[in-house]
């Protein structure tokens, strides 16, 4: 079951940028690309915990601001030699609003 929550207006996230959603289990970075696609990833680089929301967004990738690891926003996988994976979350842009699938929150509280 999905449970999409309206979190913000699309224009509140800068193009080629990100904003952060706080949750009880850590921050989620919500990215907006140059062509208005949106993606949501855990805001924590598996390398040294860098905030991915502060990275430079290029195409559908983001470069971690601390040590320049590059992640594919679609899959959350690192594109370099390192076998890193960041948790991704379902998110979509609809009618100028950004909707985040909050099923993970329900799972958390049920657990």
């Amino acid at each position: 079951m999905t449970d999409f929550i309206d979190i913000a207006a699309l224009v509140d996230i800068p193009r080629q940028g990100a904003r952060v959603v706080k949750t009880a289990t850590g921050c989620i970075a919500v990215f907006r690309t140059a062509d208005d696609q949106v993606f949501a990833l855990q805001d924590r680089c598996p390398h040294k915990g860098g905030p991915l929301s502060e990275g430079i967004v290029h195409g559908t990738s983001v470069t971690c601001p601390l040590h320049a690891a590059v992640f594919d926003l679609n899959s959350g996988r690192a594109t370099g030699a390192d076998d890193w994976q960041v948790q991704t979350y379902a998110v979509r842009a609809e009618g100028g609003r950004v909707l985040l699938d909050a099923a993970f929150l329900a799972r958390r509280s049920a657990a």
Partner: protein, 808 residues
Amino acid sequence: MKQKLVVIGAGMASGRMLEHIFDAGGTFDVTLFNAEPRGNYNRLMLSPVLSGEKTYDQIVTHGADWYAAQGVDCRFGEPVVRIDRTSKVVYSNAGGVPYDALVIATGSAPFIIPVPGRDLKGVCTYRDLEDTNAMIAASRPGAKAVVIGGGLLGLEAAAGMAARGAEVTVIHLMGHLMERQLDPAAGYLLQKDLEARGIRVHCKGATKAILGTDRVEAVVLEDGTVYPADLVCMAVGIRPEVRLANDAHLDVGRGITVNDQMRTSDPAIFALGECVEHDKQLFGLVAPLYDQARVLAATLLGQEAAFQPVQTATKLKVTGVDLFSAGDFADAPGREDIVFRDPGRGVYKRLILEGDCLLGAVMYGDTADGAWFFDLIKQGKSVSGMRDTLIFGPAFQGGASANPLAAVAALPPEAEICGCNGICKGRIVDAITAGADTLDQVRTVTKASASCGTCTGLVEQIMALTLGDSFTANANPPMCKCTDHTHEDVRRLIKSMGLKSIPAVMQDLGWKTVGGCASCRPALNYYLIADWPTDYVDDRQSRFVNERNHANIQKDGTYSVVPRMWGGVTNPAELRAIADAADKYNVPMIKVTGGQRIDLLGVRKEDLPAIWSDFNAAGMVSGHAYAKGLRTVKTCVGTEFCRFGTQDSTGLGIRLEKLLWGSWTPAKVKLGVSGCPRNCAEATCKDIGVVCVDSGYEISVAGAAGMDVKETEFLYKATTEPEVMEVIAAFTQLYRENARYLHRIYKWVAKVGLDWCRAQIEDPANRRALYDRFMLSQSVYQVDPWAEHAAQPAQWAPIADLTLRAAE
């Protein structure tokens, strides 16, 4: 049900074994005991730690994260006291842990020579981090250290302590240093090299006693010589640590006896590393230990594998000493030598042949061909065809030219390049052809040159050979992987084609990626700002986090805030505002910077707009401590207070900072203004420095005091303050218009030449034009970014907060 694997000892061999097991997807419940209170680090690299070339953190191979990720139960600092073979349980003082398979990897213990005084304080061995730290602590300049033992370990200890300033004496029982690896001639060259570094070497010296009352004071030898000592390091050898195995009644010779599968006399117990004896042989170098780790991992995973010791080569990890030895070089009937000496260069090479085969090689001073000789030794092939020129190395074989790369090209694919990790040439070539085109990538993919690093040069040569022209082309590489153009080409085309936006540059110059990358975007943003100040609009999303957030991100995601302090001068009101802000925002650290201002560290992102707003209210603006732009102008007190000052250096510094602040540059720019040649503002290691003299102002540029250290070079002598201001603004503009992004002034000047810069500045019309262009840019960019952003605090906070929702 998962098998229970218990490992005693977290050394390099057992760490590598666990890596192999987990890499192969093996599932065990692993418990790892270690007597040392830490996990696995690269023991080989203790010598660079001792000499100060590396830190402990840099040599950790498996951090806490790694163990956690693999689910290893770590018992660090918890020595094992007993093995109960009947019920298959291992006991520490904290209790018992059952095992299905047990691995003993207890390594070795240093040998302590039984002389009086060996228990005194200040006597150490060289085995682990505690020993290394003891030697570091004792190696303050002027301290006296005695190293007993002139083998590999002893000499690395001696060189490390000498590098830290201690007066070091090495006492060696044998006639020459490193007698197990070197012949007397090479040992002599090594001794001369060490003596030239101030290390005293006493060969044929037998230690009689260590003297001292509370702690060590001196070492006395059998021949009566006395060496005063604050620290004595015993490095005479190691013996396998077999006490646990003995107590458990396993078969033990000199080490714990193992078969080809690394199994001990108890089928459920295995052993590897320096504590084992295989085929009557002990092992101390890392390469065979890694082989054992591979074999034992396979055995535990139920695969077939057998350990066969191979020849090993030795290198001494002392910076600046080049020696290599491999194989057998003892004199024996039927053996012949080929020797080459060049006393002028301190080069010595000796090859030992038996029949048609190469048996051993010793090289000193020039070891470039070491790997090639080592390979010939291992292959055992006939060398009769090239015997005449053998000593000159592979470059002279088969009529090939003396190309330094020929030696590497001649190596067969199975030639071992990285001894630490057992990586052969073929694997490195495969990795390069699969796309690894930088040294870092080759390291990541293959682990070659990732341990002790002595094979780095070889790996680079293999890269040059495999990549051919494209590797040479890296001398002036494209800007990044998104384009084939160099930085210089891009700058030129932006101007000549009138490109005024990042999308325009990417479109018209044929960028190969969508939206560039984190390397080209900030560069393009800078070039467009510098070239089209009034047309281009700064693209915040193309800036690195620090410039985007106008604060420096720290490792924990907080920021540091540095308000501008003009010329390093402040007043009680500013200091009060800083103190108030520190209280109000719970700033964990306040630090005075090298650029004469105050840094507030540990500020949370959402607090940035408020703290800026508070500083603005107190009349302070951003110090741009995060910017590729003007940072600081450091000053001394000049004629205002100083009895030596020749000009108002403080005032000039403040006026220069007010002229230049807010300007974006290819890399950071720091200035210094000193009031007299005593140079208290250290102006002569800045990007731009002014030294005041009675007759005026000496302007010099292109200094550095970071990764490189370099004195500034004289640019221009000015007689008035306005002339100083015009020259420095013009020079800064020249730099802004011509340098490559991220190149500091000294790097750029080295490329274009100081004479060219001076010619541009000395021409009055040209100087004025540069100055005018600089001021035009300042009319747009000299604004306080903090004031701009403090007005929109909402953009700095999370966009949504779902923390409460989870509790619903």
